[in-house]
């Protein structure tokens, strides 16, 4: 066993008498003392890790070439863990203030009494030990965090015909948000995203324990649902008692899990969810579907725990987006659509940079994107920036919605020209107002789903060269002759349907489907068509 060395003080004083007197007292108190007569000599001892041989610096203030304050300044740069005490015959208030502000743990006036010396040294040494423990703990935590990331099996994804992006922004070095990737003998890809309650080391331990158990059971061919149920049983029945025995604060520890099982031969996808935010399925055309309808408990709350399961057959170009509630919370605080935030983070990940937007997060953020590449490798899929559903009562909030669309676009596409943003915002506003006013009006028929609503999808396509907007409602569309109205509105200054005219004229292309109940608008982000006076109205429609 490594023996602890005696506590050691480095004393700096140009006065030989003072050095001798204080050294004797310190040794009587049990300290080893190394005394030097100038800051320069002290620095020679402290550089290159030498500071770790000392537990306190005890420095005189006024010396011929440099002062004790210079020593403090140097220590702040060289080793912030080594505490110091300043001693001086001059106890001016300003000097005391400067010393303490400069990082000294104490200031003593000469002559120093034994009691004062004892207390000051004790305080300084404790401070050094505490700071060094903190540094060591942080270093270990960072190593645990790195291990946690390496254990997730993400490297397995490299050889798969899938495009997988993982964005992880933990609040601390190690925590409870993590992922696990496996390939089963049945050629199933298992992508498991988990979020343990809390952000501390206990969360990291639960997460690591779950990963290990998961790996062993998957390798043994155990069905995923049974593995999750077993872990639920363990958390509910055993973990709380174990934690209490270990002196942890009592309380429930829960684990929210989203498990995607993807058969790479059949493209059958099954999503098991236990208290996790619903994942999103972004289709090739930029539309988004929420993969889940019924909520579920996280593991660790109740037993039995009925897991929610949805099944899909994935198509080429499909992208699953799974994120922890940290991303959803940040989107709310930024007032942006979560998909636009996801896009920003994925772009940053691809560029190998840390997105500055996450500095505002108050929770861990974990985002996983899994996509089946399109058969045509040259085809860049659409990515949804905004995918929202509105009800008739949301019409009163149209300005707030518009602000949110604008925030989302500016976050996702910071380089986008302001004019394009304005074009998109105007058309979204007009189309959503039309959908809510007419498509979802009292007189419109109630749809089979029983809910009158409007859907807005804004997607970015082809390396950000196009923005695709789709606005649809549950109504039957319209039957009037838009072209005739457009002419009348323009030439005879008829007020009606001016919004529809904007929708058909401002985008580069507008396609009306389902009698206008569904509008698809395309905006080029480059080479916008400039308006020329007297341009003829040109409407495109598909019934």
């Amino acid at each position: 066993m490594k023996q602890k060395r005696p506590l050691r003080v480095l004393m700096i004083d140009d006065d030989a008498m003072a050095r001798h007197h204080l050294s004797v007292q310190m040794r009587r108190l049990g300290y080893q003392v190394v005394s030097v007569c100038s800051p320069e000599e002290a620095r020679d001892l402290l550089v290159d890790g030498g500071s770790m041989d000392f537990d306190c610096v005890f420095t005189d203030c006024w010396m011929p070439d440099e002062t004790g304050l210079d020593v403090l300044q140097w220590l702040r740069r060289c080793d912030q863990t080594l505490a110091s005490v300043v001693v001086s015959g001059d106890a001016e208030k300003e000097l005391i203030t400067q010393s303490l502000r400069g990082g000294a743990s104490d200031f003593l006036e000469k002559p120093v009494s034994l009691n004062e010396l004892t207390a000051a040294l004790d305080k300084a040494v404790r401070s050094t030990l505490r700071r060094r423990e903190n540094v060591t703990t942080e270093k270990v935590l960072r190593q645990i965090g790195v291990l946690q990331q390496r254990l997730n099996g993400f490297n397995l994804m490299a050889g798969l015909p899938l495009d997988v992006v993982l964005c992880n922004y933990p609040q601390h070095e190690a925590g409870g948000d993590s992922t696990a990737f496996f390939i089963t003998p049945q050629k199933d890809l298992l992508a498991i995203v988990m979020d343990v309650s809390g952000h501390d080391l206990r969360s990291a331990i639960i997460s690591a324990y779950f990963q290990g158990m998961l790996r062993g059971n998957v390798d043994a061919g155990e069905p995923l649902e049974r593995i999750l149920q077993n872990f639920n049983k363990y958390l509910v029945n055993s973990w709380t008692d174990l934690a209490a025995q270990a002196g942890s604060s009592p309380g429930i520890t829960s684990l929210a899990v989203c498990a995607i099982k993807w058969n790479l031969d059949t493209n059958q996808v099954s999503i098991l969810n236990s208290g996790f935010p619903f994942p999103y399925l972004a289709k090739q055309n930029g539309t988004v579907e929420c993969c889940g309808t019924e909520g579920s408990y996280p593991l660790g709350w109740f037993e039995p725990n009925p897991l929610s399961e949805v099944r899909w057959t994935s198509e080429t170009g499909d992208r699953f987006l799974v994120w922890t509630d940290g991303l959803a919370d940040l989107a709310i605080s930024l007032d942006v659509a979560p998909t636009s935030l996801a896009y920003r983070l994925i772009q940053a990940e691809r560029d190998s940079v840390r997105s500055p937007v996450v500095e505002e997060a108050t929770d861990d953020i974990l985002l996983v994107s899994i996509r089946v590449p399109h058969r045509d490798p040259g085809r860049i899929p659409d990515f949804p920036l905004i995918a929202e559903k509105y009800r008739p009562e949301d019409l009163a909030q149209i300005d707030a919605l518009q602000q949110r669309w604008k925030n989302s676009m500016q976050l996702a596409l910071p380089e986008l020209a302001a004019q394009v943003t304005l074009d998109v915002l105007l058309c979204c506003r007009e189309a959503v107002i039309n959908a809510l006013l007419h498509g979802c009006s009292v007189s419109s028929p109630t749809p089979a789903s029983g809910e009158k609503c409007c859907n807005l999808h804004v997607a970015i396509s082809d390396c950000e060269s196009r923005i695709e907007v789709t606005v649809s409602d549950t109504g039957n569309g319209h039957s009037f002759d838009l072209e005739a109205h457009a002419k009348a509105a323009a030439e005879d200054l008829v007020a009606q349907h001016r919004g529809l005219i904007l929708i058909h004229q401002v985008p580069d292309q507008t396609i009306a489907e389902e009698n206008g109940a569904k509008l698809r608008m395309t905006f080029s982000t480059k080479n916008r068509i400039e308006a020329t006076p007297q341009e003829d109205l040109c409407l495109t429609s598909q019934s």
Binding site: I398, D399, Q402, K406, A418, Q419, T421, L422, D423, L425, L426, R429, E430, I433, A489, A490, E491, L493, A495, R498, G499, I501, L502, Q505, V506, E530, A531, T532, P533, Q534, E535, L537
Partner: protein
């Protein structure tokens, strides 16, 4: 005052939720200038980035009244987006549109 344009200024965007005050102010301005038949109307949209269909209808209402009184109308805008909207909706056929090249603020 004769030969002074009747100036109608929008302090910001003209949207369905904010156009009413502009419409009332415009009507008051047109009323107050009614005695000077020869005065033209100038709609200043330089502080607007966006005008939606309700805002456009308010502008159309001003144009109608002004035209009925035999006045000419000029609309000043600062950004290309708004210029495009006024052209696409053929308001440029009813009023002179002046594109001020100052940078629009989004």
């Amino acid at each position: 005052m004769p030969h002074q344009p009747i100036l109608i200024t929008s302090p910001g965007d003209l949207l369905s939720t904010s156009t009413e005050a502009f419409r009332l102010r415009a009507e008051a301005s047109l009323e107050s200038g009614a005695q000077f038949q020869e005065n033209n109307v100038e709609i200043d949209l330089r502080m607007a980035n966006m005008v939606d269909s309700v805002g456009l209808n308010a502008i159309v209402a001003i144009i109608r009244k002004a035209k009925a009184a035999g006045r000419k109308i000029r609309i000043t805008v600062t950004n290309q987006h708004l210029y495009r909207v006024l052209v696409f909706t053929r308001i440029d056929r009813q009023a002179e549109i002046l594109l001020d090249k100052a940078q629009a603020q989004l």
